[in-house]
Amino acid sequence: MRNASETLELERALTGARWLTAARVIALLALAAVLVVFPQTTKVGYLLSTGVVILNYAVTATGWNFMGGFTGYISLGHAAYFGLGAYGTGILVVKAGISPFLALALAALIVAVIAVPIGIAALRVRGASFVIVTIAFVLILLLMFQSMGSITGGSGGLSLPRPFPDLIRTDHHRTFYYIYLGLLAVMLLAWWAIDRSRFGMGLKAVREDEDKARSLGVPTTGAKLVAFILSAFFTGLGGGLYALWFGDLDPVFQFSIMMGAYMVLMALLGGVRSLFGPLLGALVVGMAIEFFKAQYGDTQFHLVATGLLLAVVVLFMPEGVIPAVKGLFARFGPQASSIREISAADLAAERDAEEASKP
């Protein structure tokens, strides 16, 4: 039976939970409002294009998190799927003459198909070996796309026509900003749906202890592969959209380890276990990168700053910003009921109470 103090504790915890939920909803609505309204507040092309770049980071980091967040398999080579999506779209538009957004969808599907054998091979190993396999794949693609000049344009790059030739530059950015935002919304919805599903529960079990999950009947091989393909598909969509927006592709930038590292950094910074973690990480890191680039020009300073940021996160907020902030709130909020063993004093008090109630 629950005693009065426990009931009170429970009530307090529930009030605290309600308060937290309300705070979360307000924060989300505010973030969504800022993201939606932002392009309407400026006519400066640079700001709008920075907005697109940051949303592109958010899309790729969220795409990465379908694999990294759910299963804990850290891919440093996710630029591979971004590059394949970008080049796939570019080649379909330029060489095959397919309309831009159809090309984008086709390219993303092709990326998903390519991810099947890659996933089957890469997911045979875990931990550091998996990381190395993913890096190897992106480096192989870099060499391939550089050397297949007749199809990919090689080191000279590949230029795409603009999908909306009538739009002036600022409107071009604004339009793509909203397309990116739409894609991000779809991805967040998909991540949320997986997070609450049985399938997602299996993936999270893989993250915690893969062998244990298998021993409980979770079909881990298939589940990991599905997550990997989904992750590649969404990252590929991000890449394709980038190709249509930016209009100029170069293997060195599309298949770069740095880009994959950024995805990991952003997701880790925000918190890989949280739906909005990678988005928050992308906002922080993306703005920081753009700020340092604008401030210090074309130097490597932004890389140093990013490295420092990563070090700070790993040292002080290993779970990411969102869990750290939640923890801070929890510290000031009501205490969650602890798992306490019954102490001798508790037992004595219970006994006394029993004695007292006896006639």
Binding site: G202, E208, D209, R214, S215, G217, P219, I339
Partner: protein
């Protein structure tokens, strides 16, 4: 329940170490079977080969009529064999309830996309949590539980998959005597409901009081089997254990 587990001529080596050598064991369905043997006698390797965690070099494992020698651990689990680990393994960052929700038998595609925290699954999980006696902790993060509570949680997780054969690797290892009593009572109850047990255990008192059928391993192979009294009197067993 008539799910059978048979192991024939199983062998496994790690480099030059022959961990399991030509082991054939047929476990008695509906009974509590125990595997005992000195340290390093190959019990856990045998256990891991049977549950698919390690692939055997030779031999066959037949579960409910299916050859599962090369099957994945998750398929073996879905065929009705649940297991625990020697060093208790749980999902530390999940809550107690979530730990159980991971293990639901035979997920269909629609089931896989449905909510993990659906009322049916939660109700089933609560039944098992109540049965092992940790239902008051359902919202606690599993890593905050004491070792004994984690042992009970692991057992509840295995039971959530509704296995007909349950293999426990040292269920009494590292837990206090009161809890050993509780675990042994649970095993008895679940066995009375028709579930088969295969228990690897060093606690002889527990093995002898609990099991119907004992298999003794030494140097990678079963050297004796039978009811507890019979095995205890076997000179080969005394030799393996005491070197006499």
């Amino acid at each position: 329940m008539t799910v059978t587990l048979e192991v024939a001529n199983l062998s496994k080596s790690f480099g030059g170490v022959h961990a399991v050598v030509d082991a054939s064991v047929s476990f008695q369905p509906g009974k509590v079977n125990a595997i005992i043997g000195p340290n390093g006698s190959g019990k856990t390797t045998f256990f891991n080969c049977v549950t698919g965690m390690i692939r055997a070099d030779a031999g066959t494992v037949t579960l409910a009529g299916h050859d599962v020698t090369r099957a994945s651990p998750d398929r073996i689990a879905r065929l009705g064999l649940g297991r625990s680990f020697q060093v208790c393994r749980i999902f530390p960052r999940m809550t107690v309830l979530e730990n159980l929700l991971v293990a639901v038998k035979n997920p269909s595609l629609t089931g896989a996309l449905g909510s993990a925290k659906n009322p049916t699954a939660i109700a089933a999980a609560r039944v098992w949590l109540r049965r092992v006696g940790i239902d008051h902790l359902e919202h606690a993060e599993a890593r905050n539980l004491s070792y004994g509570q984690q042992k009970l949680l692991e057992l509840a997780g295995v039971l959530m998959g509704d296995p007909e054969i349950i293999m426990l690797d040292e269920p009494a290892g590292g837990v206090n005597p009161a809890l050993i009593g509780r675990i042994s009572a649970l095993i008895r109850e679940l066995n009375a409901e028709g579930r088969t047990f295969v228990v690897v255990e060093h606690n002889m008192e527990l093995v002898m009081s609990l099991s119907d059928h004992v298999v003794v391993f030494d140097r990678g192979r079963p050297i004796a089997e039978g009811d507890p009294a019979h095995v205890q009197a076997d000179p080969r067993v005394l030799e393996a254990y005491l070197g006499v």
